[in-house]
């Protein structure tokens, strides 16, 4: 099996084969001696040479993160034979949406429609888990629209306001 693996955005190629219960492994063309035991689901005990590691796998909403000690890495695994790719462009120009980072309640709207805001200025306050959190403007601009009112219940991802 050959995988294209990206760790924190950097690409690596891994050739993995399993024969008679042992893994043979080439990482970016280099032979690596690996011994792996699945200690329990999502926990791998790895030996690379004689170095021992416990690697934890965190899977949330299609994202995979690997923990080596206290270091956390975003991992993407792709089979290069598969034609599917993923491209995500982040658009910093133009209008930006302010979304609720968690389900909660709007306790305050701090600016009105049409107001000028600096990047980082508070726009709304959302309360969840007894904590009030200020939702800040991601950019300098004008508040084009406020889509919620005080007291409204919101779900994670709901668009609360648009800043242009």
């Amino acid at each position: 099996m050959t995988y294209d693996i990206s760790i924190d955005g950097k690409q690596h190629r891994l050739d993995l084969n399993r024969a008679e219960g042992r893994w043979s492994c080439r990482l970016d063309g280099r032979e690596v001696e690996v011994d792996a035991v699945l200690a329990r689901p999502d926990v791998l005990s790895l030996r690379i040479g004689n170095q021992a590691y416990e690697v934890k796998c965190e899977r949330v909403a299609g994202d995979m993160h690997l923990w080596v000690g206290s270091a956390r890495f975003a991992a993407e695994v792709r089979d290069p034979r598969s034609l599917r790719g993923r491209g995500r462009a982040v658009d910093d120009q133009g209008p930006r949406k302010l979304t609720a980072p968690m389900p909660g309640k709007i306790v305050r709207v701090l600016v009105s429609q049409g107001a000028e805001v600096e990047a980082g200025a508070g726009v709304l306050v959302v309360e969840a888990m007894k904590m009030q959190n200020e939702i800040k403007s991601p950019k300098k601009g004008t508040i084009q629209k406020i889509l919620v009112s005080e007291g409204a219940a919101v779900n994670a991802g709901d668009v609360l306001a648009i800043v242009e």
Binding site: Y3, I7, H12, A36, L44, C57, V60, F73, V77, P101
Partner: protein
């Protein structure tokens, strides 16, 4: 002794009290809100009763429903834990009226201490040292202006009914006073249903040190030593330890005797905590009394060898304190970390969600009081405290090294927690040198963490592990979403994952 105790709480503290009940051969009755049916305290209890919707006002704060369960289950006592109804004198009174013993002080003692202004008045009379300020609620903005000018800025506005930093504002200059007063009042009204706010001189970067007291119903009151609680964020404690590194036996005795005087002035019974602010010259001032078991009680338990919940129950059952002040000994050092479901990389936003993987620390000197388990979804409706990790050692240094080691063993996957923050705190040179004050954590968090380049060896390990997990397929996956390789983001959408996606977007933009 009681036969059956109802625990009017949830989370780790409910589990803690259930454990004490079982150790004492007492049956434990849990109550739970709609979202807490799968909660750990329901699993551990002998009986469990639903009490309504997730909103605390519909369930854990609903006196009528809780007393109804007490009657139906035949519980002869109620332990309120901390938070919720624990400092509600009306509840204590309702328990007494219903013939159920409230495990805590009397309603009258709570009334005396529950309002911070009334507590200040009583302490003034008892000759207890107080921070300069008003001992009555502010009647007007003009009055606030006058008092602030008299005692000098900076000043602190505080809700009389307050706790947990709610309804509190630090005011540096006269211009900020008006909006701060309005903010404190509305937050106090919202949080406690009481907008009374008073004013105190702000002691800058004080230490926050509190004294545990215990009083039986026969007039015996003792102190069990102090806890250093200076590490706070937004007035919420984050790390606590006992003993305080700056308190010597002489200072402990002085503070302890004042604390006992405070408790006696209020006619206090059961477990309580007297909080002090300590300035740089080690002068201490009475701040308030917490009329409940504290979150951080385990550090006192470890250094005194006493079980505070057992003692609370025995005192409530009418027993005498089984020891005298002279028999209380402080031995070793204990430090507690409060593990919260919050995201350190995103301004400590709450991070509810499903726990996909949970690996637990153990070994010498480690105590873990937890309300979570693998596969459980942390609800968004309550305080994000998940668990407390407490390290104990012969001395402070050993407690720190054990705790550091245990934090490296602790792994909570699927949600964000503040575990990494404790690694930072425990390795900080000022923390190690015990240079602590209430501004410590804000200063630490302001320091940009030097972005250490990832260890190339760790990256290599991650690549190989990612490949092996993918090759093993679904069999290697735990309680998280079953995604092998991860181009299939269109797996079954659910609210939790939407939440995560949104949170992720928020965090990365």
């Amino acid at each position: 002794m009681f036969k059956k105790i109802l625990i009017a709480n949830r989370g780790e503290i409910a589990v803690r009290v259930i454990r004490a009940c079982h150790e004492m051969g007492i049956a434990a009755v849990a109550v739970y809100s709609d979202v807490d049916r799968p909660a750990l305290h329901v699993r551990k209890a002998d009986e469990a009763y639903p009490i309504g919707a997730a909103a605390a006002s519909e369930s854990y704060l609903n006196i009528e429903k809780i007393l109804d369960v007490a009657a139906r289950s035949g519980a002869d006592a109620i332990h309120p834990g901390y938070g919720f109804l624990s400092e509600n004198a009306k509840f204590a009174r309702a328990c007494a009226d219903a013939g159920v013993k409230f495990i805590g002080p009397t309603a009258a003692a709570m009334d005396a201490m529950g309002s911070k202004t009334r507590a200040r008045q009583a302490m003034e009379r008892a000759g207890v040292p107080l921070v300069p300020g008003t001992s009555r609620g502010l009647e007007s903005f003009e009055q606030a202006e006058q008092v602030a000018a008299r005692i000098g800025y900076p000043v602190m506005l505080k809700a009389a009914a307050g706790g947990g930093g709610k309804g509190m504002r630090l005011v540096h200059e006269p211009e900020e006073l008006k909006s701060a007063l309005e903010g404190a009042r509305s937050e106090a009204e919202r949080s406690f249903g009481d907008s009374e706010v008073y004013i105190e001189k702000a002691i800058i970067n004080p230490r926050h040190i509190e004294m545990q007291v215990l009083a039986d119903e026969h007039g015996n009151t003792v102190y069990l030593g102090e806890r250093e609680c200076s590490l706070q964020r937004r007035h919420q404690k984050v790390v606590e330890e006992a003993p305080s590194p700056i308190v010597d036996p002489d200072m402990r005795r002085k503070m302890g005797e004042v604390a006992v005087r405070v408790a006696q002035a209020a006619g206090y019974t059961n477990a309580g905590t007297v909080e002090f602010l300590v300035d740089q010259q080690k002068n201490f001032y009475f701040l308030e009394m917490n009329t409940r078991l504290q979150v951080e009680h385990p550090v006192t338990e470890l250094v005194t060898g006493l079980d505070l919940v057992h003692l609370q129950i025995r005192i409530a059952a009418g027993q005498r304190l089984p020891f005298t002040q002279d028999e209380v000994q402080i031995r070793g050092h204990a430090i507690e970390c409060r593990i919260y479901a919050e995201d350190p990389d995103n301004n400590y936003f709450p991070s509810p969600g499903k726990i996909t993987l949970l690996l637990l620390p153990s070994g010498p000197g480690i105590r873990r009081d937890s309300g979570m388990y693998e596969g459980w979804t942390v609800p968004m409706d309550y305080d994000p405290l998940l668990a407390k990790l407490i390290g104990y050692g012969t001395d402070r240094e050993q407690a720190i090294s054990r705790l550091t080691r245990a934090l490296n063993e602790y792994f909570v996957g699927g949600i964000k927690t503040n575990i990494s923050l404790f690694r930072r705190i425990l390795s900080d040179p000022d923390f190690r040198a015990a240079k602590l004050d209430t501004g410590f954590l804000d200063r630490l968090l302001k320091q940009k963490q030097a972005e250490a380049p990832a260890d190339p060896k760790a990256i290599e390990v991650a690549v190989i592990a990612a490949g092996i997990f993918a090759a093993m397929g679904a069999a290697a996956a735990g309680a998280g979403e079953q995604v092998v390789g991860n181009h299939s983001t269109n797996s079954r959408p659910n609210p939790a994952s939407n939440w995560k996606i949104a949170a992720h977007k928020e965090a990365t933009r």
